[in-house]
């Protein structure tokens, strides 16, 4: 459902412009506020909505099938690692709050810098293993599956199937 921007809340900071995967949030040169330049290429992915520091962006259901008068709002908190949603039905009969975690660790801290880990040996290079395998594949016997170890071989055509 395409996005739109509330005039009084937007300060033209450009964070939505920076994030929109469809390149459709742009700053209007006259009012210096953001707007959706191409609603029919909007996926309502909510990336811009989540990114806006002033909650200035909202979504209105697509004109071709969605009536007016509903609301789905979101607040994403990176510090706390949670995302909160509020869904209000058009007829007012349902009003839901939903909360979900977005990460269990501080951003990026647990991603290794592979430039600094011990360099792979020639044996590892010649093997089929990827970084930190077999540790991450099986904790029991450490093996990488091959056709041989699984007792398989490739055979051609419909008979083999």
């Amino acid at each position: 459902m395409p996005t739109f921007v509330y005039m009084t809340r937007c300060d033209g900071c450009g964070q939505c412009v920076d994030i929109c995967p469809s390149d459709i949030m742009h700053i209007d040169t006259t009012v210096r506020r953001a707007y959706n330049i191409e609603p029919n290429m909007c996926w309502e992915c909510y990336s811009c909505v989540k990114a806006c520091p002033h909650q200035a962006i909202d979504v209105r259901g697509y004109a071709d099938f969605a009536p007016l008068g509903h609301s789905v709002r979101v607040k994403r908190d990176e510090e706390k690692g949670v995302i909160a949603w509020r869904i209000k039905f058009r007829n007012g009969e349902k009003d839901m709050d939903l909360l979900a975690p977005i990460t269990t660790k501080p951003w990026g801290k647990h991603i290794p810098q592979l430039r600094d880990v011990p360099a792979p040996t020639q044996e590892q290079r010649d093997s089929q293993l990827l970084y930190n395998e077999p540790k991450y594949i099986r904790f029991d016997d450490g093996g990488l599956h091959t056709l041989e170890s699984n007792g398989l071989k490739m055979i051609k055509g419909v008979e083999g199937y």
């Binding site: 309502e44 058009r90 647990h110 594949i137």
Partner: protein
């Protein structure tokens, strides 16, 4: 044109498009190439780009080998029955044996994976799917890629691959433009890993007008993974295997968790079970090998997705629609109800917006389902993409030319949607494929295969003129008319896209013809595609944003043309429910138990088609 030319030289590995496949590639490349120069060129911002931009609520490809759940060959059997025999089993097995390691890393990086309190294993949604709180899936893998790469260029639309002038059929980098500054970017690189994603919006969508962006696969999935490869002369496979999905109507909300975890089911407009009615006739059409209802009941062997679509489509065509998802039972359980909503918020917010707007409360009302327009992609339940080499310890000779996931162009690798014949990779499998491609690319460089690459200024300048031609065309012809968008000398990208979609829909089996086509229709369509190609030389871009749309359209056009050729070549209906060849309705194993492979000559635009053998892993068990 006053745009600057910016040259990034001496790159070892260029990642073109950093979605799930590209981020996996950049991350892994740093380990095997600690001293190498790794650069990312991405059309959007890698923090929120690609099909996973808004998040996912499940990882659809996880073996659970460590919990004794499945082994890789089980997954191969599953994917091949789902695709009615036609898969690259070497690539599938290879992805499946590594994929768990990627998922375990995601958890270590902070992605919240749900756990089953009883078993301690990850919470299963189905045999292959595990449930996650995946709103930030993409920012998390982007973080890994950013940490690994020397440079990340966001907002670069890659338009062409550069080719080596000292050795034919070898890649030398890529070019594109920055959609914000307009600058022309040249990336000279020893290898390129293409992860530029599959294609939506090739077929006319069911949504119209303002809503046209409401498609299932992201509207920015412009088929660049195919356009770039086809343009460079790489061989493609399975391009006829485009996918149609059963989804919640209008919002295209996913149904996987509903069926598998929430235990919902479908019925027709009269409240009856309809699927099984269509299976006896269908069994005759496809053969017992692919649809054996009794065996499926006995062993839980899944019925191929396309065949279930067939039942859906046939029932609606018989006038007994709409098809409903029966949610009213499950949703009485507040926990399941909450999961149902979270499932949308995590990956298709639009569906939640739609139900809120239309007051659909699935607790008291069974929502409607629909079948989508077709999509061309290689990582979901479908296998379009490049013909790639497999790993040396698995692949038979026809599938092996030295470097894992390398296309038939030297130094050019693929990941995710870009790789053909590897359905059911999904997000984790795409990431894994990126990792595999990156290791192989490092090996390719280390073995001296990229020595002596030469790129002339002539090639760079020729491409530059080509890249900006739509803006030039606009500038020249704009003032011939007073105002508006109707011009005798050009069409704009939206007009071109509308034409492409109409053409694909009517001649290559879209929704308005119930996915049906035949030789005559395909040949007419191909003729019109050629004329459209001529007109695309005259597409006009008013500004840089439209230039982006113009290049997306050109990549979509190349992808679409390939779909036409493949569909014409395969003279059978291998996947009823995805498409039908009205002139060859039956599955014909005698002649067509093969993979289709094409190559478009970059100079002439001519297509050559061939059949490639389809290899299987022995011991097809009943309980795939």
């Amino acid at each position: 044109m006053a745009y600057k030319t910016i040259v990034e030289d001496n790159i070892d590995i260029l990642v073109a498009g950093a979605g799930l496949g590209g981020t996996g590639a950049a991350f892994e490349a740093r380990y095997w190439g600690q001293d190498k120069k790794i650069v990312i060129a991405e059309k959007a911002n890698i923090d929120r780009s690609g099909a996973v931009a808004q998040g996912l609520y499940a990882i659809n490809c996880y073996m659970g080998t460590r919990f004794g759940e499945n082994n890789p060959e089980d997954h191969v059997r599953y994917a091949r029955i789902d695709l009615m025999g036609m898969v690259r089993e070497d690539l599938l097995f290879d992805m499946a044996r590594h994929v768990d390691s990627a998922v375990h890393q995601f958890e270590e990086w902070g992605l919240p994976l749900m756990r089953n309190p009883k078993t301690g294993a990850y919470q299963r949604e189905g045999r292959w799917q595990i449930m996650i709180h995946g709103e930030s899936y993409k920012p998390i893998v982007a973080e890994a890629a950013k940490k690994a790469a020397d440079k990340v260029f966001n907002r670069i639309c890659v338009t062409h691959l550069l080719m080596d002038e000292s050795k034919p059929n070898r890649v030398a980098g890529a070019v594109g433009f920055n959609v914000r500054t307009g600058n022309y970017h040249v990336f000279k690189s020893k290898t390129v890993i293409v992860g530029a994603g599959g294609a939506s919006n090739i077929y006319k969508p069911r949504s119209v007008g303002e809503g046209a962006g409401r498609v299932w696969y992201a509207p920015w999935s412009s088929g660049s993974a195919y356009g770039l490869l086809i343009g460079a002369g790489a061989k493609m496979t399975q391009m006829e295997n485009r996918i149609v999905l059963a989804r919640f109507k209008d919002g295209y909300g996913p149904v996987g968790a509903y069926f598998l975890h929430l235990k919902t089911y479908t019925q027709n407009g009269m409240g009856e079970e309809y699927e099984s009615k269509w299976f006896p006739a269908l069994e005759e059409m496809v053969g017992k090998r692919y649809l054996d209802v009794e065996a499926s009941h006995r062993t839980h062997r899944p019925i191929p997705t396309c065949l279930r679509n067939h039942a859906f489509i046939s029932e609606v065509n018989a006038g007994r629609g709409p098809i409903h998802m029966v949610t009213m039972h499950s949703f009485q359980d507040p926990h399941l109800e909450e999961i149902g909503w979270h499932n949308f918020l995590g990956m298709t917010v639009g569906q939640a917006v739609l139900w809120a707007a239309t007051d659909v409360n699935p607790k008291y009302e069974n929502p409607e389902l629909t079948t989508s327009e077709p999509y061309v992609m290689g990582s979901h339940a479908t296998g379009c993409g490049a013909w790639c080499s497999g790993p040396e310890d698995i692949s038979p000779p026809e599938y092996f030319w030295g470097y894992n996931r390398m296309t038939t162009v030297e130094g050019l690798f693929g990941a995710g949607d870009a790789v053909g014949g590897t359905p059911h990779a999904f997000s984790s499998g795409s990431f894994t494929e990126g990792r595999l491609a990156a290791k192989a690319a490092c090996k390719y460089i280390d073995e001296g295969k990229a020595a002596g690459i030469r790129v002339s200024d002539e090639q760079i300048n020729r491409r530059k003129a080509e890249v900006y031609k739509p803006m030039e065309h606009y500038r020249i012809y704009r003032n011939e008319i007073t105002a508006g968008s109707v011009n005798p000398n050009y069409i704009n990208p939206r007009q071109g896209l509308d034409r492409l979609q109409k053409l694909m829909d009517e001649y290559a089996g879209g929704v308005t013809v119930s996915y049906m086509t035949n030789e005559k229709l395909l040949n007419i369509g191909l003729k019109k595609m050629k004329v459209l190609e001529e007109d695309l030389e005259k597409v006009a871009a008013e500004n840089i944003h439209e230039l982006l749309r113009a290049w997306e359209l050109k990549h979509r056009h190349l992808t679409a043309e390939s779909v036409f050729h493949h569909t014409l070549f395969r003279k059978e209906t291998r996947w009823p429910g995805y498409y039908y060849r009205g002139d060859h309705m039956k599955v014909d194993d005698e002649n067509w138990h093969v993979l289709t492979v094409s190559r478009r000559d970059p100079q002439t635009g001519e297509y050559t088609m061939e059949k490639a053998p389809c290899y299987h892993l022995v011991d097809a068990k009943d309980d795939a």
